[in-house]
Symmetry: C2
Subunit: 128 residues, 2 copies
DNA sequence: GACCATCTACTACAGTTGTAGTAGATGGTG
DNA sequence: CACCATCTACTACAACTGTAGTAGATGGTC
């Protein structure tokens, strides 16, 4: 049931707020994302319904209010999004992404440092 | 006009074939992607029209046939997709992606090959 | 126990995406 | 120059996305 969990952009925003702290009510989630979205309350509700339909969140009634919690983990969603991105833009090859990162993207000094470390770790791990 | 060029999954497939070699006719593009998509000719045509509408490809009539060529470069499209992905999944921080890469993703042989090259380049660049 | 603030349920509606069909134009070939 | 294979132009249509409105249920408060 929780197979390939593809989230739309708006759904990512809601999930982001929900991953931050759960369970949460729709109103709470709206408050958390108010700074970035300026949505109506009903927009959050609709997205939560859709997320529930696709099995990404669950809800539990307390009083007259639904409390939501994520079913899909952030990591899981990230991995799915990562795969989709890599598949379309780099034909599935993570190496292509690394290449792109190394030569195309403007990285901060810290990113560059981290990338170098990452690459080295990966290569070392490999040769072990 | 060629600002933020967002491509859908299907559009990426067509662009992939077009980036491989241009100019090309719709029929040629269909043949190139036949292995992976099993689309009807008209599907390719429709996608090409949409891509033209959004300024991603241009076309030129020769005889009764349109010849298409990319306006948006693969690099440009990749950067846009990269940004979109990073923004939603890692809140815009490339570091988050690197982290993810280092601990979550398994690399194929091909990935590792590319990676070694990339690493060499990075190191050389650094020592220059 | 009535009322109000607030919640859920149902509905809406335009834009994008995936995936094509059909009809009418037309260039090359005999 | 007629015909056919093939092209383009126009149209289609359901699913998914972004973004909500409205009406009716309901739990807490006086």
């Amino acid at each position: 049931m929780v197979g390939i969990m593809k989230l739309s952009d708006s759904e990512w925003i809601v999930m982001g707020a929900l991953w931050a702290h759960a369970p949460a009510t729709a109103r709470e989630l709206l408050e958390r994302i108010e700074a970035e979205t300026d949505w109506a309350y009903m927009t959050v509700k609709t997205l939560l319904t859709r997320l529930q339909d696709k099995g990404a969140v669950s809800s539990e009634r307390r009083g007259k209010t639904d409390w939501f919690r994520p079913i899909v983990s952030r990591d899981k969603a990230t991995r799915t999004a990562f795969r989709a991105f890599i598949d379309r833009a780099f034909d599935g090859a993570v190496g292509g992404l690394l290449h792109h990162l190394a030569r195309e993207e403007k990285l901060t000094k810290r990113d560059r440092e981290l990338l170098r470390r990452t690459l080295r770790e990966l290569v070392e791990e490999e040769s072990r």
